[in-house]
């Protein structure tokens, strides 16, 4: 094969591959407006705030954002902490961002401390420290990894 033909073949293969690279990049990054998603995640966190009743012994309930991930179908998974008094809960909530707000699809609570979260493809990978038999409330020590996927608007543990 002449060097010119080799060059053309190589060039055409690169050209072909570049479409695939773009398709893969788009698949991994999505294209929904970042600002719109951020706004709705903020709105979700703000909506977790519930004022206490002055006459009753009750603390405010608040949500604190840890991290969120956007999925390819426009849904967003939010890792956040629910706090009220000395009670806290690590939570994962799936929302669907709409033009005029968001729709909460499903939510789960973790029994322990979420140490790290990651999104691999469309799968959520969570490193969790959960309670061993003799662990005190403060200090879960058992390390575990949880993996979730989204099916039909639900978070499904794999």
């Amino acid at each position: 094969m002449s060097s010119f033909k080799k060059y053309r073949l190589k060039n055409s293969r690169f050209g072909l591959k570049s479409f695939g690279l773009i398709a893969l990049f788009v698949s991994l990054t999505g294209y929904a407006t970042e600002q719109q998603i951020q706004q709705q995640v903020d709105a979700f966190i703000q909506n977790q705030y519930k004022d206490h009743f002055p006459e009753l012994v009750s603390d405010d309930e608040v949500g604190r954002l840890k991290r969120f991930y956007e999925h390819i179908d426009g849904r967003v998974s939010i890792f956040w902490t629910y706090q009220s008094g000395n009670v806290w809960l690590e939570k994962l909530t799936l929302i669907e961002v709409q033009n005029d707000g968001y729709n909460e699809l499903s939510s789960i609570s973790f029994n322990g401390v979420v140490e790290s979260t990651n999104k691999v493809g469309e799968e959520l990978v969570i490193q969790l420290r959960t309670y061993d038999e003799n662990d005190p409330r403060c200090c879960p020590s058992k390390k575990t990894t949880l993996r979730y996927s989204i099916y039909n608007g639900e978070l499904i543990e794999l």
């Binding site: 479409f19 426009g74 099916y151």
Partner: protein, 273 residues
């Protein structure tokens, strides 16, 4: 990866040949499909990430291969499932039991999700009349599909910022995408870029309202597909000359209507299955 693909492809074909190889998969179509698989393998970079390529399986995207020349609607529909199985096993990196559940992502049988869909359709229809009419009136436009603002498909050409991949349907099955393609530059493909410019406003609306594809059939009905995977699509059809179909009827690309909900005398929400 190619070896893996050919090996599993060979296994797949040997299994289907012995078991229930579809009647439409004769030797010529078999060869055409193998050529498409080879083309996809050359084009799409390898990744081990699970479901990374899922958007490439959405309606009329690059992995959503349609057998446009098959005469029988059931064969067309069967092929979409077959294709998801073959390409999905190669590119989605999920266990088979997960892969078989993927269509659940786009199936809605409950009131709540139906309401959400109808709301999404309603907000699109409220602002898109002019652009839908422009699409309908342009005889050169039959299909607009959207992956991202700069990555989209018009008819049989896939557009990206740097190049256009224009496909010719395969001879026997009419596969699109096929192994017969031209790589073009946006600078030199003026007529294709005119179609791109013409459909820009429609694509802008599609981005905003998360529409996957808009197609037109021989009766000038416009099918606005909001989502889907394999033979499970959902969206709204805007009729021109035909009547609202019934559950069990098939649409222009051979998919069977599973849910039909009239929205007016000339439009209906649907889900195929």
């Amino acid at each position: 990866m190619l070896n893996k693909m050919l090996l599993s492809g060979a296994f797949l074909f040997s299994v289907t040949a012995m078991a229930d190889m579809p009647a439409y998969f004769n030797n010529e179509i078999d060869q055409e499909y193998r050529a498409v698989l080879k083309h996809m393998d050359e084009m799409m970079p390898q990744t081990d990430l699970e479901l990374a390529y899922l958007p490439s399986f959405y309606p009329f995207s690059i992995f959503d291969i349609h057998a446009t020349k098959l005469k029988n609607d059931k064969d067309k529909q069967a092929f979409t499932n077959f294709n998801l199985g073959v390409l999905g096993s190669q590119f989605l990196n999920v266990e088979p039991q997960v892969g078989t559940k993927l269509p659940n992502l786009v199936i809605c049988k409950k009131d709540k999700c139906t309401e959400q869909r109808l709301k999404q359709i309603s907000s699109f229809l409220a602002v898109s009349e002019e652009q839908i009419l422009a699409f309908k009136n342009n005889i050169s436009l039959n299909l607009v599909q959207l992956t991202a603002p700069n990555v989209y498909r018009i008819n049989n050409t896939f557009y990206s910022p740097t190049q256009l991949l224009s496909y010719t349907p395969s001879k026997y099955a009419g596969f699109v995408p096929s192994a017969d393609y031209k790589i073009l530059s946006p600078d030199t493909a003026s007529s294709l870029m005119e179609l791109s410019a013409y459909s820009q406003k429609l694509r802008d609306l599609m981005i905003k309202h998360k529409v996957a594809a808009v197609t037109k059939d021989k009766n000038d009905s416009v099918n606005v597909i909001f989502g889907g995977l394999s033979d499970n699509h959902w969206g709204v059809v805007l009729l021109d000359k035909s009547n609202i179909p019934r559950k069990g009827d098939r649409n222009a690309i051979g998919l069977e209507y599973d849910v039909i909900k009239p929205l007016s005398e000339t439009s209906f929400y649907y889900q195929t299955n």
